[in-house]
Homo-oligomer: 293 residues x 4
């Protein structure tokens, strides 16, 4: 019953991976919000998103590279590690996974959301529940600042995760990339989510926003805060590419070439080098070639 | 003095492992509750359960596979990794371990529980102490939602831990599975415990509930909230199997076959592959064959 | 300038290791207490002790095995992994390290302690500062319960850390033992410190208590709570041995023998086995032989 | 486009690394402060600095060794691992990176800082925002205590991170040094930041202080608290060297020599030893020679 088409497998991987990421994250947001912070705090939402990143990466990175984020996919296109033709299918898969996850979280927390909101699904006020799903800005921040915030957050993401798997740098262990990438995401959530919620991921924001739109929160989820919704769609794409370029220009170009491993050397050294610098099984090389975050 | 019977050894392993898991978890719940959150918060209970998972797994996974959870054992039966004949002994061992742990936690926190509750062991009210041991729902959530909640929580558990040890996927390091599984459990506790406490484990719930029943909390531990107790017994079994099937259908079936390692290849590549893709000592293969979470 | 005597080196290692452990732990307690929980909470003290365990283990385990705790040293004597003749020097070294650390923390936090306490160094009342250093029980807990609490806490410690380095079990990576042991200690702090502070270590408690005795807190540090001070001295010794025996009886005896590695096998398997099951450099074997927690 | 000059590459690495460290740290401080602790707490600032350390180390340690701190660079000079001629360029690069990061954080949090402070950028009072960037002492602590505090904090830093990469000790895995060093820094933040903010790093303090000076906080950032600013400049340098010396004298001198690996031994043992004790690819050896924290 194996799906023969590689892109179809990858799309399935991205749907399920982004689904898992958002189930953890949005469910934690629902838990904290509807329990009125008695069963968790802001920090636990950050931590749950981080666990979601880790879990989603272990789940699907052998299949699809576990981008989970159109800004990451776009960056890999720019870096030449993902075919441009796959950018749209990857992005739509990610948005779909996020949409489905929002629906499931809504089912689980339906009763609690109704109790908390008094049955009125709204974007504003002390009983608002829209922020369980998509991100919303604070009142005092200008559109330019929010745009910059999302550019910087996503640039930090790419700048910090690209070295983790760069064999010419001093990379993290291949099999431990998921918890380490998750830690970077935790750091961004703890430091750059005050303005507008640190989406740093168009799918993580649009999928849930579309869900709330269809589930009764109405058009306000798009129109509120002066049509804020476009910022977490566009700015992360800019930021991801920007961060990738900064990594290339300031670090990657200046790293030493990998030694040509086919060069005849003492067997021992060669083996060591391979072990240390690759940490990649053959399978991984095939599957993660373009995208192995 | 070695116990010759394999199943007896496995049962001992599961008893002790689940005992350790519950000592950490219930003791933390007792600490937070009886100190009126001055010596910990909701988050620290989540974290202590997580440390319990890690510790229990290191303790007994070479002996019994460290299921610690009938829903996990059932899932492994369905996946063909545990003999069906062992399902009942495993489950009873897990419940017994959880029961014994509750008794020990009660001994340690007896004085504090008496002080906190004014000596009245009850399931309801501001001085209730039953929730130190078993899980209880909140008032506003319907039975269907609680059932779904436990199905989803346990499905997420299996969906997120199966890839961690799947050699055809991009698995975590064998020797670091315990902290990574523990992190997944932490994530579930932080995001899916608002409705009814995230048991996601029939033994974790029934053992302590039986203990409170025998130790003076009375029949209310079973009758309260409309006989809620059956939900964390049944729903996790459904959820565990469901999550396993989702993993198979969406991910596992589409992963590449492991290369046949007996195939003649260059010695070097072969060695690399083995190292990277197996991360399994021979002993582990023998002992963790069916169940190495 | 190398110290030739092995025991002298080990004593130096234990002094410095326990010193580091206590500097982290007591300084965090001072920070939280004197800042009136504005710069940390109960959890951050638990976490700082945990970081102290990790740091101290990396610092001195190649020298002395990083026991850092007379209860651990005694357990290793019982297990045949430390010569009985070394038990007293190890324990005194640990107490001395803890004493010196308390002194340093007092110097750093002198001004803050004076401000917080109004200059009155006392064991009781809202401005007490003795609990920055040694552990004290809560009012409501009986002496028997406190004794049991310390027995159980230390038994859990040994039960959970012995498998981590047991090659016949499924051990943690040798080079990552420090953070994993530290996580176990964190778990114990979060779940078993409500009654009397989770010393689970006679040196961690006596060293700081002696310091406060000499630094102006007076004899009350010993006489208070009905001479409570003997409990964290004696109970952990009992608990450590008890936990070790439980590990032996319930788990260790039933694990398979390590394959005789001198047995002629295919070179490849042999190598794999060694790598996976030992994770020990030759040096480690020499130095950590008896005690490599 | 590769930069040919090694020092230029290293300076670029240190600028970018320290930039990343401070973006995480100062942005988290801004988030917590301007959200009035609704979007994080003291602990989350500690954690964000820790994530910053990890991310910065993965980013630039193959290029520059990831000192990120003049006190670390000075210590490596004293230890003979960094040429003295590089100390000033490294330090200036670190200060510049910290300055630039402060500027970026100010841009992102400009609106929130203005709202929080009412537009008055000041060092004192409930609406002060200077402490988002540089460190400031509490009122009750004397200059001597603050100096000692910074000496001890930085000494603990060097004492705890030097063993992590010492092949003669029992080091951490090379590829996991960044998260482990980050954990040490987290421990120091949680235990030694109550007096004066745990800068333990002249660049982390001076860079942001210079930024606030130029951005409108005025000369008070230097003159306040009796010209406190010199303490986090000078004391960490003293402390770093002191901690390094303590490590040498109490631990390093007494560790066994590494076996001469060119000695003829059985191939197998040799290989094992190399793997376990080095964990260093050839490239790493070249690049991290002096400084691979």
């Amino acid at each position: 019953m194996k799906v023969k088409n590689e892109l179809a497998r990858q799309v399935m991987g991205e749907i399920l991976g982004t689904f898992v990421l958002l189930v953890f994250g949005c469910a934690a947001a629902a838990q904290v919000k509807t329990s009125r912070e008695t069963k968790g705090q802001f920090l636990s939402v950050n931590m749950a998103f981080s666990v979601g990143v880790m879990s989603a990466m272990y789940l699907c990175r052998a299949v699809s590279g576990a981008h989970l984020n159109p800004a990451v996919s776009l960056s890999f296109c720019v870096l030449g590690d993902l075919a441009w033709i796959k950018l749209l299918p990857y992005s739509l898969a990610q948005i779909l996974g996020a949409y489905l996850a929002s629906g499931l979280v809504y089912l689980i927390y339906h009763d609690a959301i109704m109790e908390f909101s008094g049955g009125i699904l709204t974007v504003f006020g002390p009983n608002e529940t829209a922020s369980i799903f998509a991100t919303y800005p604070t009142d005092v921040v200008s559109v330019q600042t929010n745009f910059l915030d999302q550019v910087v957050g996503t640039a930090m993401l790419m700048l910090c995760i690209l070295p983790l798997n760069d064999k010419r740098n001093a990379p993290a262990p291949e099999a431990l990339l998921p918890p380490i990438v998750a830690t970077v995401v935790l750091g961004i959530s703890m430091s750059m989510s005050a303005n507008c919620g640190a989406a740093i991921n168009p799918a993580r924001d649009l999928g849930p926003r579309l869900f709330t739109f269809t589930a009764g929160w109405g058009t306000e989820v798009f129109t509120c805060y002066d049509y804020f919704f476009w910022i977490p769609l566009v700015a992360p794409l800019v930021g991801g590419v920007l961060g990738s370029i900064i990594y290339l220009v300031f670090i990657q170009w200046h790293l030493p070439e990998l030694e040509d491993e086919s060069e005849p050397e003492s067997e021992e050294i060669k083996e060591q080098t391979k072990e240390q610098m690759e940490h990649n099984s053959k399978k991984d090389e095939l599957y993660l070639k373009m995208s192995s975050i």
